[in-house]
C-alpha cells in the first residue's frame, strides 16, 4: 500500500479531527519516537498536477500547521509500505527533530515587490548623461561602436543593480527586526525587485504585518504582494541531503535518544 506523505509533525499522537486528503482518503499520523509522519493511503502516484490535487495537499498541510509544528513535505512524495516509512523516519530522525525544534511557533511570510524597471533605467540614463566626465570617447569603427554600446549598457546595469541593492537593504532592515531567519532573492526578473521569505515568531506576527504596511507607503509606484502565514517551506534544512551526517552517525545519535524513550508504535510494525 502506497503512503502519500504530507508533512512531519512534532507529535506521536493520533489526528483527532477527521481530515481528508488525496483520493478522499483519511489522513493519519504514523508515529516514530516523539514525532510522526502524516500520511494517507493512495492507490497510485498522481498522474496530472491539477489545481485540485495541489490544493488538497496544501489544505492538509495548513490544517496541520494550526495544531502542530509541521515540516511540509514536497508534493507527490510516496513511500511503499509502513515498514519503509518507519525506516525512513529512523534515517531522518535527527534532521526532522532539529528542524521541528528550530521552527516551533514560527511561520513563513512572503514579500514580493515589483518596481518599474523601465522608468528606473530611464532615470539612470538621464543621470548618467548629465555626468559628462565618464563618457567613453571612441572611434567610429564597428568594433568601437560595439564597445561603446556595451559599455553604456554596462554602466546602466551596474547602476540599476546598485539601486536595487539600496531599496532591498532598506526593506530588509525593517522586516528583519521581527524575523528569525530570511531568504532573499534580488531581481529575479528586471521588474521583480524582491522575492523574499521571512521566518516570523507567532507573537511577532502583528509587528511584522505593521512593518509591511509601513514599507508599502514608502514608494507608491512599487507594487507589493504579501502572503502568509505558511508552514516553513523555505526554512527546512536537511543535513542528510548534503551528507553532513553519515547514516552511522545518525544511528548512534538515535540510539542515545531511544535509550531514554520508548519507541512508540514499534509494536504495531
Amino acid at each position: 500500500m502506497k503512503l502519500y506523505i504530507y508533512g512531519i509533525i512534532d507529535s506521536s499522537n493520533q489526528i483527532t479531527e477527521s481530515t481528508y486528503g488525496l483520493e478522499g482518503s483519511n489522513i493519519y499520523n504514523i508515529p516514530f519516537c516523539n514525532i510522526g509522519a502524516v500520511v494517507s493511503q493512495i492507490s497510485q502516484p498522481i498522474q496530472d498536477v491539477t489545481e485540485g490535487a495541489v490544493l488538497k495537499h496544501e489544505a492538509v498541510v495548513e490544517k496541520l500547521m494550526a495544531d502542530f509544528t509541521v515540516l511540509p513535505v514536497r508534493f507527490q512524495t510516496l513511500i511503499e509500505g509502513r515498514d519503509n516509512l518507519l525506516s525512513m523516519m529512523r534515517s531522518y530522525y535527527r534532521d526532522f527533530k532539529n528542524n521541528l525544534e528550530r521552527l516551533r511557533d514560527k511561520f513563513e511570510f512572503g514579500i514580493k515587490v515589483i518596481w518599474p524597471a523601465d522608468k528606473i533605467k530611464e532615470n539612470i540614463i538621464k543621470t548618467l548623461n548629465k555626468e559628462q566626465q565618464k563618457k567613453l570617447e571612441l572611434g567610429s569603427s564597428p568594433s568601437n561602436k560595439f564597445m561603446k554600446d556595451k559599455f553604456d549598457k554596462y554602466k546602466i546595469d551596474k547602476e540599476f543593480e546598485a539601486k536595487a541593492d539600496k531599496f532591498i537593504k532598506v526593506m530588509d532592515i525593517f522586516f528583519s527586526k521581527f524575523a528569525a531567519e530570511k531568504r532573499i532573492e534580488k531581481l529575479k526578473t528586471e521588474n521583480l525587485l524582491l522575492d523574499a521569505v521571512y521566518l516570523v515568531e507567532k507573537d511577532k506576527e502583528s509587528n511584522f504585518r505593521e512593518a509591511v504596511e509601513h514599507i508599502k507607503t514608502a514608494r507608491y509606484d512599487f507594487k507589493y504582494l504579501f502572503s502568509g502565514p505558511w508552514p516553513a517551506y523555505n526554512f527546512v534544512i536537511l543535513s542528510k541531503k548534503s551528507g553532513l551526517l553519515t547514516d552511522s552517525q545518525q544511528t548512534s545519535l538515535l540510539n542515545k535518544v531511544t535509550q531514554d524513550q520508548m519507541l512508540v508504535g514499534v509494536d504495531s510494525i
Binding site: 495548513e62 571612441l138 568601437n144 564597445m147 556595451k150 559599455f151 529575479k188 521588474n191 507594487k223 504582494l225
Partner: protein
C-alpha cells in the same frame, strides 16, 4: 479556500506575469528520444559557452571603466567580442535554441541571462 493563509496584492496580474517569467522549468516528462538528447547536449555546450562569453564581456567592461585598456586594445577586444557574439547567434539559430533556453541559474549569482 484555506482558513488562515492569505495571498494579498493589489496587482495580481503584474505579479503573475513576473512570477511566470521567473519560473525555472519544472520537471517535465522524461523524453529519451535521440533528437531531444542531441538538442540537450547542444543546449548544455552552448550554455557553457555563453557563460564564458558573458564573463569575458563583463571583465572587458570593468577594464574599460578602470581605464586600463588603450584605445587600440579597446578596438581589438571589441572586434573579438563582436565576432563571438555573432558566432553565438549563428549557433543558436542552427540548433533552434532561444536565449531563454540557455539560461542558467548560478545560485547566489542569480541567473546567467
Amino acid at each position: 479556500m484555506m482558513a488562515n493563509t492569505i495571498v494579498e496584492t493589489e496587482s495580481p496580474e503584474e505579479f503573475i506575469e513576473e512570477i511566470e517569467k521567473a519560473q525555472n522549468c519544472l520537471p517535465k516528462k522524461i523524453d529519451a528520444n535521440p533528437e531531444t538528447v542531441e538538442k540537450g547536449l547542444a543546449k548544455l555546450v552552448l550554455t557553457l559557452i555563453e557563460l564564458i562569453r558573458k564573463l569575458l564581456e563583463k571583465q572587458a567592461m570593468r577594464r574599460v571603466e578602470a581605464g586600463s585598456l588603450s584605445d587600440e586594445q579597446i578596438e581589438n577586444v571589441g572586434e573579438t567580442l563582436m565576432k563571438l557574439e555573432n558566432k553565438m547567434k549563428e549557433l543558436k539559430e542552427i540548433f533552434g535554441l532561444k536565449d531563454k533556453e540557455l539560461n542558467l541559474n548560478l545560485g547566489p549569482l542569480g541567473d546567467l541571462m
